[in-house]
């Protein structure tokens, strides 16, 4: 019979959270499928599976992407950072810490993606404004409506990062 779904697996080598790894995947697999189903990194969520809610946000070579709309093979040789790779051991990223303190979550399902976008923003632009935060998460959906606290948390984290940088340069 015509077995159109039996995958002819291909090899994919990439770096995930600093660790090189190689997996055999279906060529049509998306990045999020590989992260969750092959590498069991289930912190990255899927909300819409069409790039419209951004719950699946990860960093690909340092840029935010929707991992549900990224062919896994487009990540070949690249470096992926997921929510599991953001904290340094027990030391939370300033955005994670600020999310905790400002209660920037409710059900928490959109939170990993939100954190990845907000952390990307503050690292890129520690002088970010409220409007920048709104823009950075303009493609994210939080159905519980945690936005006001996400704004506060991200701006607070940016302040922390600025202070750290001043401390470093002093």
């Amino acid at each position: 019979m015509d077995d159109s779904t039996a995958a002819e697996p291909v090899s994919l080598a990439l770096t995930v959270n600093g660790r090189p790894c190689t997996v055999r995947i279906d060529p049509a697999a998306t990045l999020v499928e590989v992260l969750r189903d092959e590498l069991h990194l289930t912190g990255t969520k899927v909300g819409c599976d069409r790039g419209a809610c951004s719950a699946c946000t990860v960093w690909l070579d340092g840029e935010v992407v929707a991992s549900c709309m990224t062919f896994a093979l487009d990540a070949r040789g690249k470096s992926v950072t997921t929510i599991e790779g953001l904290a340094q051991g027990d030391r939370l990223h300033p955005v994670q810490q600020a999310f905790v303190e400002h209660d920037a979550m409710q059900c928490g399902f959109c939170t990993p993606g939100m954190v990845m976008s907000c952390a990307h923003l503050v690292e890129r632009n520690p002088d970010c404004t409220l409007d920048d935060v709104r823009g950075a998460i303009g493609g994210h959906l939080c159905r519980c409506g945690a936005y006001p606290n996400i704004f506060k948390a991200t701006l607070a984290a940016a302040t922390t990062l600025r202070q750290r940088k001043q401390g470093d340069s002093a």
């Binding site: 935010v64 992407v65 709309m69 093979l73």
Partner: protein, 323 residues
């Protein structure tokens, strides 16, 4: 979503060869891959083979010179367009259109080539069911559809950067078999979206879009772009408007007014353009241009609201362009 064979093309020539091979039936070319993935997930395309263009360096890069204008490699991402200093300076309407497209995540991956070639976002088109049961499409439900040129279809082209590019007289460069290249005005390249075609452009199945070029703008040219949406966060347009004006001694020497999401393809509002020529723009004249633009609209039952919205947005964008 069935599984596929994946082939990396290393050059434009190789890509063309892969796309034109006798076994090329069921082959699809991908750049950023967003629209291909979406269509695959919806069951609208079921390619047997994906030709990946991402590794062709010749398709990359943004180049600008005062003399020759702008060249955008097909793999240029929307984020690169939005952030490029020369584009922001010389083609602000294009930069604004890129800034307001999709989400930050999508802009980082979506290429200008893929953006121009994406299929319509019509909610009938994006549902597998209506590809099988074409006769069941409920035209009257098209509240986001065309209010012009909609006698046969209300589907509109999904790209918003295209509205600005048409206003800047962009041209599209494609390469086909035996290295045969074509250059087409973008406005001629785009076709009204159609269920029965594989693409909504004049690109042939065995051609590769290599780059987009935009001529230099004349001195004393100003421009503005506005995408009118229901929401400010990621949203599709009710309409979008690009206005490019060249003025001398405060009077308009040349005008381009292009509107998107209100006709199957971006539509130049020539009567409104003509109205502006030789005159000094003020609110009243801009309002008159807006009125003139929508005079011939033929909205459907559910999208007549788009007519006054477009009228206002044209007026506002003209005013923004002279500021």
């Amino acid at each position: 979503m069935n599984t596929v064979q994946w082939i990396d093309a290393r050059s434009v020539e190789e890509a063309v060869a892969l796309l034109s091979a006798p076994a090329a039936n069921g082959t699809i070319a991908k750049a950023g891959g967003l629209d291909v993935l979406d269509l695959m997930k919806e069951g609208i395309v079921t390619p047997a083979r994906i030709v990946n263009l991402q590794r062709i360096d010749a398709l990359r890069g943004v180049q600008f010179s005062d003399a020759s204008g702008l060249r955008l490699g097909a793999l240029t991402t929307l984020a690169e367009i939005a952030n490029d200093a020369s584009i922001r300076r010389h083609y602000p309407a294009l930069a604004a259109a890129a800034v307001h497209a999709a989400t930050p995540q999508v802009r980082n991956a979506a290429t200008i080539g893929g953006n121009l070639l994406q299929r319509p976002r019509c909610w009938y088109f994006r549902n597998e069911l209506f590809h099988a049961a074409r006769n069941e499409i409920g035209r009257e439900q098209a509240q986001y559809g065309a209010i012009f040129d909609n006698a046969t279809s209300t589907m509109v082209h999904a790209s918003t950067p295209v509205t600005a590019l048409v206003a800047y007289d962009a041209r599209v460069h494609v390469v086909g078999k035996q290295g045969k290249s074509r250059t087409i005005a973008l406005s001629d390249f785009l076709l009204p979206p159609d269920f029965d075609r594989d693409r909504d452009t004049t690109l042939a199945g065995d051609e590769v879009l290599t780059h987009v070029s935009v001529p230099p703008v004349a001195a004393q040219t100003t421009a503005a772009y506005h995408k009118q949406t229901e929401r400010d966060s990621y949203d599709w347009p009710i309409c979008d408007v690009a206005v490019v004006l060249t003025t001398g001694d405060r009077k308009v020497d040349a005008a381009k007014i292009v509107v998107g999401a209100v006709a199957p393809v971006p539509r130049r509002m020539t009567a409104s353009e003509k109205l502006l020529l030789g005159r000094e723009i003020d609110e009243q004249l801009a309002a008159e241009a807006g009125r003139l633009a929508v005079r011939d609209a033929t909205p459907t039952a559910k999208n007549s609201y788009k007519v006054p919205v477009l009228e206002a947005v044209i007026r506002r964008t003209i005013m923004a362009a002279i500021r």
